[in-house]
């Protein structure tokens, strides 16, 4: 009965969609642009020399702080290095920091969330309190302490950003696991005599993790912003490296005379976040079966 109902409502939704003349098949401009931009970044990561003929570390004092032009699209920095080349070559370190930090956060979150969600009352209580403490703890302080203890490096940056964003995901995983745990198909699986490990692997994990796919996408952009904030405070990649946050920190001193040294690296970070966010939300809406229009 319910199956028939849901099928007819799907049909109704489909009818309504065609009736309003909104085609769900045509790609929306937002997600399409996002995909194009991300493809551009993939090329920048795989082979940056395809996109620019300049080297990111090549100093040319004669062309110091030149405004954007046809030869130097994004202008040059105080040492005469081409900023476009630095942005392109910076894609690999900056993006890998974002991806690695998100991956670390997700692994931590899944572990904690599963322990909390599947453990008994006491275990769940302990995990929830730990998450609560981590939440109240200012994320920036966590990063500051971590970097001071282990020294400023890309690894510290990844670990501190990953640690800082793990509690948010962990809360969500825990909620999902608890919701999935009592679903009818888990009971069915138990009745069929499946082992606990098999139920965990085949039923609980895939169902509890699905929303994480989208969240992970959203999280990459946020992690990059985060990591670049720390680089900006001097806690991340060392200055000559073409990492976006470090470029911003370096450009800050020339903001009045050379806005381009500050504007372009920042704009790229914003674009990455925009692209991952709009793509993540698009997928989220599609998965939830809502109209992906807005």
């Amino acid at each position: 009965m319910t199956a028939i109902n849901s099928r007819s409502s799907v049909a109704a939704v489909a009818r309504a969609a065609t009736f309003r003349g909104t085609s769900l098949r045509l790609p929306r401009p937002g997600p399409l642009l996002a995909v194009l931009f991300l493809l551009f970044l993939v090329v920048a990561v795989v082979d940056p020399s395809l996109l620019t003929r300049y080297q990111p570390l090549a100093i040319n004092p004669a062309h110091s702080l030149e405004p954007p032009s046809f030869t130097h699209w994004f202008g040059t920095d105080p040492s005469g290095r081409d900023i476009f080349a630095r942005v392109v070559y910076g894609a690999a370190p900056s993006l890998s920091i974002g991806v690695a930090a998100t991956a670390l956060a997700l692994v931590l979150a899944i572990t904690l969330g599963l322990i909390g969600g599947l453990g008994g009352r006491f275990v769940d209580g302990v995990v929830s309190r730990v998450l609560e403490v981590l939440f109240a703890f200012p994320a920036l302080l966590l990063a500051l302490l971590f970097v001071t203890i282990f020294g400023a490096s890309v690894t510290s940056l990844i670990v501190s950003v990953g640690l800082g964003s793990a509690p948010g995901y962990a809360r969500m995983v825990r909620g999902q696991v608890i919701a999935v745990k009592s679903a009818p198909y888990i009971k069915a699986s138990r009745v069929l005599g499946h082992s606990r490990a098999r139920i965990l692997r085949q039923s609980i994990l895939p169902n509890a993790m699905r929303p994480l796919l989208v969240l992970g996408t959203l999280g990459i952009g946020q992690s990059i912003v985060w990591a670049s904030s720390l680089s900006f405070l001097g806690l991340g990649a060392a200055p000559p490296a073409p990492e976006w946050g470090a470029m911003l920190a370096a450009g800050r001193d020339f903001i009045s005379s050379a806005w381009w040294a500050e504007l372009f690296p920042g704009a790229v970070i914003v674009l990455v976040t925009l692209a991952t966010t709009s793509l993540g939300r698009y997928v989220q809406r599609r998965l939830e079966g809502r109209d992906a229009g807005t």
Partner: protein, 337 residues
């Protein structure tokens, strides 16, 4: 805003469970709830203090040297030995921890070596600029979120898309970069606002906007989803059927529902704003807790760092309680019981 998107979803889960928890609440259950919240709050404060204590002690370098003026000032051996004895750095760490903890419980946050003053004095001097900044930013962020939702949700397609697009854009802006761009445009190019040192409201505008715009974009996204859902509820249809105007439906019915998820995020957002304040205060050369925190960590000033952490955690706890109270105000369903 940092890691906002991740935080949101966790909170929405909490929201659901809190609704169900409140559904069967009598006066006794409410007292139990308040007791549990208080216990939780104390636990959070203790956890934050403990974590910071051990982290600061794990930093490389001798805290006694840092206290005696730092390695740069070449303190004499006798001075270092005296400081070590006076502050008990020669005792095992766990003894130091319990000594410190018992002082904190009695309300003594200790002496800040880097500021040459009591931690309570240092904090009380720098807390107000930060509170003003973060509360102004939170208010502005809500203003942005509510305005954007009221104006653009379920309007003509162009307007709706523009609204949600701008929200995503605002939420993607890194604070420090936004701050620099705002400074460049409004202070250096247009010259409307002094870049630094502006006192009063004028000096507050740019830093508060820097914090508020990304948070506003984020709150707005959360509110928009809920607003859209609320406008499809039966009570909206019935209100419209009674002949209520569109504006009244939005203001009196949909908005109340729409702000709930954002409201439950606000307590956490306040904590996150303090993290943001570290960056913004550095950028705009403002006095405040952010700068103090940076000094505390870089100078290995354990009492100062733990003190600031405790204040931030306390803000988080209090904000959570305030949010609970606001819930009662916004959602009459909870008052009825």
């Amino acid at each position: 805003m940092t890691a906002l998107a991740t935080a949101a979803v966790g909170f929405e889960d909490d929201l659901d469970s809190e609704f169900t928890a409140r559904a069967d609440s009598g006066p006794r259950a409410r007292w139990r709830r308040i007791g549990r919240d208080l216990g939780n709050g104390i636990l959070v404060l203790w956890g934050a203090a403990t974590l910071t204590f051990f982290a600061v002690n794990a930093m490389p370098g001798n805290p006694a040297v840092a206290m005696a003026g730092g390695a740069g000032s070449h303190p004499s051996k006798a001075l270092i030995a005296a400081v070590t004895r006076e502050y008990g750095f020669d005792k095992p760490l766990i003894v130091q921890y319990f000594t410190y903890l018992s002082q904190v419980v009695q309300g003594h946050l200790g002496f800040s070596a880097s500021q040459k003053e009591q931690v309570t004095t240092v904090i009380s001097q720098s807390i107000w600029p930060t509170i003003t900044l973060t509360l102004t930013a939170l208010a502005l962020a809500w203003l942005i979120a509510i305005a954007s939702c009221l104006i653009t949700v379920r309007r003509r397609r162009v307007v709706s898309s523009l609204g949600s697009g701008l929200e995503v854009f605002a939420a993607s802006l890194p604070q420090y970069w936004l701050g620099i761009v705002l400074l460049e445009v409004f202070a250096f190019t247009l010259g409307w606002i002094p870049a630094t040192g502006g006192t009063g409201i004028i000096g507050l505008i740019l830093p508060a906007l820097t914090l508020a715009i990304p948070l506003g974009g984020f709150l707005s996204q959360v509110t928009r989803d809920e607003f859209e859902a609320a406008l499809e509820q039966p009570f909206v249809v019935s209100a419209r059927a009674r002949g209520m105007s569109d504006r009244a439906v939005r203001l009196r019915h949909a908005l109340r529902h729409a702000i709930l998820p954002g409201l439950s995020l606000s307590g956490w957002a306040l904590g996150a704003l303090i993290s943001g304040a570290v960056i913004v205060e550095t950028l705009f050369s403002r006095n405040g807790l952010g700068g103090i925190l940076l000094v505390g960590v870089s100078q290995q000033d354990m009492p100062l760092t733990v003190g600031v952490t405790l204040i931030v955690a306390l803000t988080y706890v209090i904000a959570g309680l305030v949010v609970d109270a606001l819930y009662l105000l916004v959602d009459p369903r909870l008052r009825a019981r």
